[in-house]
Symmetry: none
Subunit: 205 residues, 4 copies
DNA sequence: AGCTAAGCGAGACGGTACGTCAAGTCTTTCA
DNA sequence: TGAAAGACTTGACGTACCGTCTCGCTTAGCT
């Protein structure tokens, strides 16, 4: 399947398949971007480096993406596709705790810092943000939204909460701390933050 | 008073005063940076532009700050010093609501987008983050912490909450949304987010 | 009739006729090249532009010509076919003067600067030079050679001159000045140069 | 002494001396350009190549010259400064013949083809032409003008000739032939052309 | 009448070079 | 002695044009 600009993706459109060549370049570029991101983060994923390492010319890269940040965003989506599956047991509450634990580990690992760099890049460029959402965030949020919904259905959370806001209540504080570094996100802090957020969402007992 | 690197600041150290000239250059540079930030955001606040507009040579800038982001961070602190005072009436709860209202307006205004750009810049460079905290964030958080403490004392909030986490429970979701743009921060969303956060902190009634 | 590469042309060979389509593309490309040359000179006559404007694909262009300069050279020949006819009255001397006057006007006009650009392009590529000669210069020189021959026959010029050299004695200085711009080619200069050249060729009286 | 743009040079102005560093870069770049020109002609003297080989950054090159052709033009001037001195014996006529002989050899040698490439480059860009004249041609023409003047004084040439035109009468045909390649410039042709030109300038006997 | 080979438009691609921007360093000169 | 002035290197950027390639369509001309 060919690549898609966020606009098209967000509009639910697909580009007409363009032939083997185009996709090959797209894939090669993404693979190189993934590799460079893992090794050196956003700083390493320059257009020149991706071009050189992948054998895809710069002009072609610019035909496929509007900026290096966009490539990185999509590459990050590819990279994360293999991680962080959502637990799905009988207990929504247990699943929530499991998932939030995973999140904590993720944020403190190498992928976490790439994630943070990407969020930072979103600040400078709305297009990057669009790519980041389309190729990574949206799907992940959908998964988490399902989990929250299950918490609502099992009467763990109130039924008048806004799912999107609930998600941000968990993630926002963590991301903010990772970006600015004003406070720790060690296990204790993490659990305490989560605890506060859960209290904000729980159904009164 | 001469300038301080964050390391020194955070360690409570002061550089030996360096003479009248130095401070004049420091001030001039900051004034220019403030001006450039207001006009064109982070993108406009380049070293060359600051140097040219302020008449302070690049070399001198680098003697005073480690990077252009650091200048911007300190300049932003200067810029914000005149805004967003904390309300202080008899009612902590009313003060909290007033303040959070102000925050909303601030985030959506021109200063808000500079703030977001700076937070984004923090992602790439720990030193920038240190400057940002030292010259802007720390003081502001202290003010907000006091407000939260008053909410605890007036038994609006529980007394076992962590003030730092409480702050991030309010700010994190907003900042996250501003950065990534995945959801609105209009008045309704804002109040709903705040409402969720407050619920997480409130003393059970 | 199909097109010919200079080598073939110069060897007196013709390509086997290739079918109606081929010629249509050839003509369309030349027409576009003429148009682009007139509007923007050599700089505008890029392969991409010719291809786009004419609807002839780049691959086809490269099947018909070895380079964009070659296309331009042939197009210039087409363009000039409509201009600069040779006067032919009873007086060879008068005809010579008329023609040289025309030349002066031509060199200073828009076609003159295209001509100069093409001569400049010949410097970098022998193939371009071959096209330029085949599709423009050779025929023109033949015409001028006839005129000079008539001057010899009417005993205006010596009969031991080399016609080719005589032509270059007139044109070389003009072209050189147009290329390098070290001296004017206004009417006075032009006539003076021509006068020197004629003196070099005249039969002593 | 710092470098000069042709406009300044032609206006007789000098840039204010800029310090040792600048000149070092200028010299290094020219040396590299000379070297590259000798090895591969104009095609080899790319900005990137000059920058890489000389260790002078591209930005600096563009501060010193407006284009690679300008660098090449100045470099060619440097290269030629060591060649083609003007003979100066008692006999102006003999000196003229000697010099024209030298010219022939020069045109057919490796430097000749660089010369032709440069003349060709002048066709596309007036600035290149200005550099070419300033750093190579003007001085050379001054020398040749002196020689022609001596021919006038010795009553070999008429005294009503225009020196500039006389120069072009010799050089124009040669340059034209070298550029377009429509006719030979072997010894016979060369002498014949020179002979024609001389006839055009000689004092009637 | 159908088949085959050629020419064709479309358009993506790798490559070379360009010209520019901003960052951060270094030297010279001045106060 | 410290700072202004400003030239410098570095690294990356985004673009232009080139010449090549593959694809699938059309057409010509032979079988």
């Amino acid at each position: 399947m060919g690549h898609q600009t966020p606009a098209e993706v967000e509009a639910g459109l697909l580009r007409p398949p363009s032939g083997a060549r185009s996709d090959a370049a797209h894939e090669k570029a993404l693979r190189s971007a993934v590799c460079l991101l893992k090794i050196g983060g956003m700083k390493a994923a320059t257009i020149d480096a991706i071009s050189e390492q992948s054998g895809v010319s710069k002009v072609t890269l610019y035909r496929h993406w509007p900026s290096r940040q966009a490539i990185a965003a999509e590459a990050f989506g590819v990279l994360m596709a293999r991680h962080l599956t959502f637990p799905e047991t009988d207990s929504a509450q247990a699943d929530l705790n499991d998932y939030l634990d995973d999140i904590g580990k993720f944020y403190r690992g190498p992928l976490g810092s790439i994630f943070v760099e990407l969020v930072g890049a979103c600040a400078n460029d709305a297009t990057t943000a669009a790519y980041f959402r389309t190729f990574f965030l949206d799907e992940r949020r959908r998964g988490f939204a399902d989990l929250i919904q299950r918490c609502v259905e099992s009467e763990y959370f109130r039924d008048d909460i806004d799912t999107e806001q609930a998600i941000d209540l968990f993630f926002g504080p963590l991301v903010y701390r990772m970006l600015v570094g004003h406070a720790s996100i060690d296990d204790r802090a993490l659990h305490s933050i989560i605890d506060h957020a859960i209290r904000g969402l729980r159904k009164p007992v």
